[in-house]
């Protein structure tokens, strides 16, 4: 630590060069932080504890094929299943197709039992919802977004379901209340949710009656999830509607993987960034040591050992890289809200920034080692004579 002023002084020996090098390393780590967070988010979906005990049962052959409603009874009787609820894809939007609304036709009792403690709704509004056939509970943020108020009648367009009464695709709901989401890691996944009664949906649609899109279960013991999944699927094996049950997190992961190998793309970009960074900082360190050869020789003459000189150069490289990395990662932390806006439905965790420091240390060692070795091997007499 007592050599810190010396290292600090040599770092700023050529101000402009150090500043420009610092700036490019900062920019690289800003990018590193942003891409790592995105990669982390895609490979760790819904990291919240609330997802661990949820299973999803879909049609084995296609998510778009429905399942008979009567399966619910059988699933509920499977040991380990606390409760099961059913949902269908409504394909809804408000006024324009860009205003997507995740309208969920749901069975009130089983839904709130599966998602126990996940939605915060006032008792009066929940009661009003139960009492209103055409009622809807809406995410408080969504209410704000569309300027909806309790008591409003809102029409939603379904791209799939026509109504029995008039063949129309437009469904009207009465907003009776709003909810917020307890687990912050689930907040973005539920950001555009509107809940309405399954009965209204099933009785109102002109086709598909008695069928559901998929089932969602809550299990008593998350560690039993795969055994319970197997038991559920065994119930319907060889029926005309075979099922595929998996933990909710696996389901989300598989869906994300459908977009392609996002992780590979991000890592390839980071690879390119670091490869160029190696050259850039490496060149700076080399230059810096080359210019200081006589000074290093003086240090050695004063009695600094070979090992100490090596350490001093390495420490300078570490200081440069880690300082820049910390600033860059801090900037990317500041950019999280912006990325979040672009990636709706994805939860970003600052935890992904930790490997950045490791990368900075690695970078420092790689670019610092060759000049440090050179400094260590300096022969005092030759080095002093080097002065042009």
């Amino acid at each position: 630590m007592k050599y810190f002023p010396l290292i600090w002084a040599t770092l700023w020996r050529k101000k402009a060069r150090t500043i420009f090098t610092l700036l490019s390393v900062i920019v690289a780590f800003l990018l590193f932080g942003m891409l790592e967070t995105i990669d982390y988010a895609f490979s760790h979906p819904s990291s919240g504890v609330t997802a661990a005990d949820k299973l999803i049962t879909t049609n084995k052959y296609s998510i778009t094929l429905s399942l008979p409603f009567s399966d619910a009874q059988e699933i509920r009787s499977v040991p380990g299943v606390v409760d099961v609820t059913w949902i269908s894809w409504f394909g809804g939007y408000y006024q324009e197709s860009k205003n997507f609304v995740f309208a969920v036709p749901m069975d009130t009792d089983s839904y709130f039992n599966v998602y126990k403690d996940q939605f915060i709704v006032s008792d009066e509004q929940l009661q009003a919802y139960r009492n209103t056939r055409t009622g809807a509970l809406v995410n408080a943020d969504l209410m704000k977004k569309f300027n909806w108020k309790v008591g409003d009648k809102v029409p939603l367009h379904s791209t799939i379901w026509t109504q029995k009464k008039d063949g129309s695709l437009d469904w009207t709901f009465d907003i009776v209340g709003s909810f917020s989401v307890k687990d912050p890691t689930q907040a973005s996944a539920q950001a555009s949710t509107l809940l309405f009664h399954y009965d209204l949906f099933d009785e109102g649609r002109s086709f598909g009656k008695g069928k559901v899109g998929w089932f969602e279960e809550r299990v008593s013991d998350p560690s039993e999830a795969s055994a319970i999944s197997g038991r559920i699927d065994a119930l319907f094996a060889n029926s005309s509607d075979e099922t595929k049950t998996q933990p909710a997190n696996d389901f989300t992961m598989a869906f994300i993987k459908q977009f392609g190998d996002i992780g590979f793309v991000l890592r390839a970009i980071l690879g390119a960034v670091f490869f160029t960074l190696l050259f850039l900082t490496g060149n700076t360190m080399m230059q810096s040591v080359r210019e200081r050869i006589p000074e290093l020789a003086v240090l050695k003459t004063l009695g600094f050992g070979d090992g100490l000189v090596l350490e001093l150069v390495l420490a300078e490289s570490l200081l440069l890289c880690v300082l820049a990395a910390v600033i860059g990662l801090a900037l990317s932390f500041g950019a999280l809200p912006i990325i979040k806006q672009g990636l709706q439905g994805v939860e970003l965790s600052p935890r992904a920034l930790v490997p950045g420091i490791g990368a900075a240390v690695l970078l420092a060692l790689i670019v610092g080692l060759p000049p440090a070795l050179r400094a260590m091997r300096l022969n005092i007499v030759d080095a002093l004579a080097d002065k042009r």
Binding site: F20, L31, I63, G91, H157, T162, V273
Partner: protein
């Protein structure tokens, strides 16, 4: 002035090998930026190409009104009968309309690279398929037969998804479907799909009716008349679109996302590379201090000196840009990938490094070089001659 310029530039280029370390930082830094920019944009270009190449202006897609996509749409048999009697449709020798009633569904087929299930379109097609879509060519095996559980796989799908080779069997709702052939269709989006007889698909998924109708018009000009006839029919609630319009709309969102992400990353990298270029050019100017001062002392102007530094920076950037674009082309052009497209189903496409993208990359490279070279050039031009000479 011009003579001076040529002299200074040739001098600076001749001493370039002595500054190879610092100069290579510019080349490599900019090559990285351009390689990333061009590769990512090639993804967007490939995706857009695949969807833009789908369809021809004299072919129409008819969906139930308000459905947006085939997967959501539902047409009854009566609807399709009405549509096939509308004016403007091309007819075969026996007077039947060239129309394919289609049923679109997605099935789970594992992706080869990740092993996880992906939504692959299984499209039931009518008997007039080959007349409605003449671009469809069987490249391996044979066509499926109607009324039996046979299907043909698009060449893109066969490359990306597991078990889609001629003779293999796909299990779907308690029944085995045999893959009898592999087809191409001008590199369009249907190459990502599986095709089978529409009624056989309908009975497998228990659907009575269709998703859409695809029909050939006698000429592209017939579109308005055909559309008017259908939309003014009170019995019918349908959306009529030209096929290219329908598919172009599907590529819009994803292409925009890819372009925004690619350019954002590249801009950030470019800023980093610009600092690298500044560094290198400042040290180049410092190394040439004596040389520049001597030139100024014997009467060379400030402008040729300034320009020579700028030109050196731009030339190095140009080399970097060309290397970067070449790397992107070498590694990724024609690389086949698939993603979840706008219609909730996998679209297989190839990364396409187009000429426009290469030019874009090189223009970016030169801009970075100009910015990174300007301030060092200014310093070179303002170098106090006497001091520089004395310092040496």
């Amino acid at each position: 002035m011009f003579k001076q310029l040529v002299a200074v530039i040739s001098m600076s280029l001749q001493t370039l090998p002595q500054r190879i370390g610092a100069s290579s930082v510019i080349v490599i830094g900019i090559a990285g930026v351009v390689a990333v920019l061009v590769s990512v944009l090639a993804m967007g270009a490939g995706f857009q190409h695949t969807l833009a190449d789908t369809g021809r202006p004299d072919r129409v897609v008819i969906l139930r009104g308000g459905s947006d996509a085939e997967l959501n749409s539902n047409l009854t048999r009566t609807d399709v009968d009405t549509i096939s009697n509308a004016p403007g449709l091309a007819k075969d020798a026996s007077g039947k309309a060239l129309l394919s009633s289609e049923l679109v569904t997605v099935v789970n087929v594992p992706k080869i690279d990740t092993g996880t299930d992906a939504n692959v379109t299984l499209r039931g097609v009518g008997l007039k398929l080959t007349e409605v879509r003449p671009e469809l060519t069987i490249v391996k095996g044979r066509m499926f037969r109607p009324a039996v559980r046979e299907l043909i796989a698009g060449s893109g799908a066969a490359k990306q998804f597991r078990g889609l080779v001629v003779g293999s069997v796909l299990h779907l709702r308690n029944a085995d479907w045999t893959v009898t052939g592999v087809f191409t269709s001008n590199g369009d989006v249907h190459e990502s799909e599986l095709l089978a007889d529409v009624d056989t698909v309908g009975s497998a998924v228990e659907r009575n009716g269709y998703s859409s109708a695809v029909a050939l018009l006698t000429s592209p000009a017939q579109f308005a008349e055909f559309k008017d006839a259908l939309t003014s029919d009170p019995q019918l609630k349908v959306d009529v679109q030209r096929e290219p319009d329908y598919y172009a709309a599907q590529s819009k969102d994803l292409t925009r996302v890819i372009n925004v992400v690619g350019k954002t990353v590249a801009i950030i990298m470019a800023i980093g590379a610009m600092f690298g270029a500044l560094n290198s050019m400042y040290s180049a100017v410092a190394a040439r201090g004596l040389e520049i001062a001597t030139l100024r002392a014997i009467g060379f102007g400030a402008l040729p000196v300034l320009l020579s530094v700028m030109i050196e920076a731009v030339l190095l950037s140009l080399v970097g840009g060309i290397i970067g674009a070449a790397l992107a082309w070498l590694f990724f052009n024609g690389h086949s990938v698939s993603t979840l497209g706008g219609a909730f189903a996998q679209v297989v496409f190839q990364l396409t490094v187009t000429r426009t993208l290469i030019i874009t990359g090189i223009v970016w490279a030169c801009l970075i070089g100009l910015l990174g070279g300007f301030f060092p050039a200014l310093r070179a031009a303002r170098l106090p001659v006497a001091e520089a000479l004395r310092a040496a």
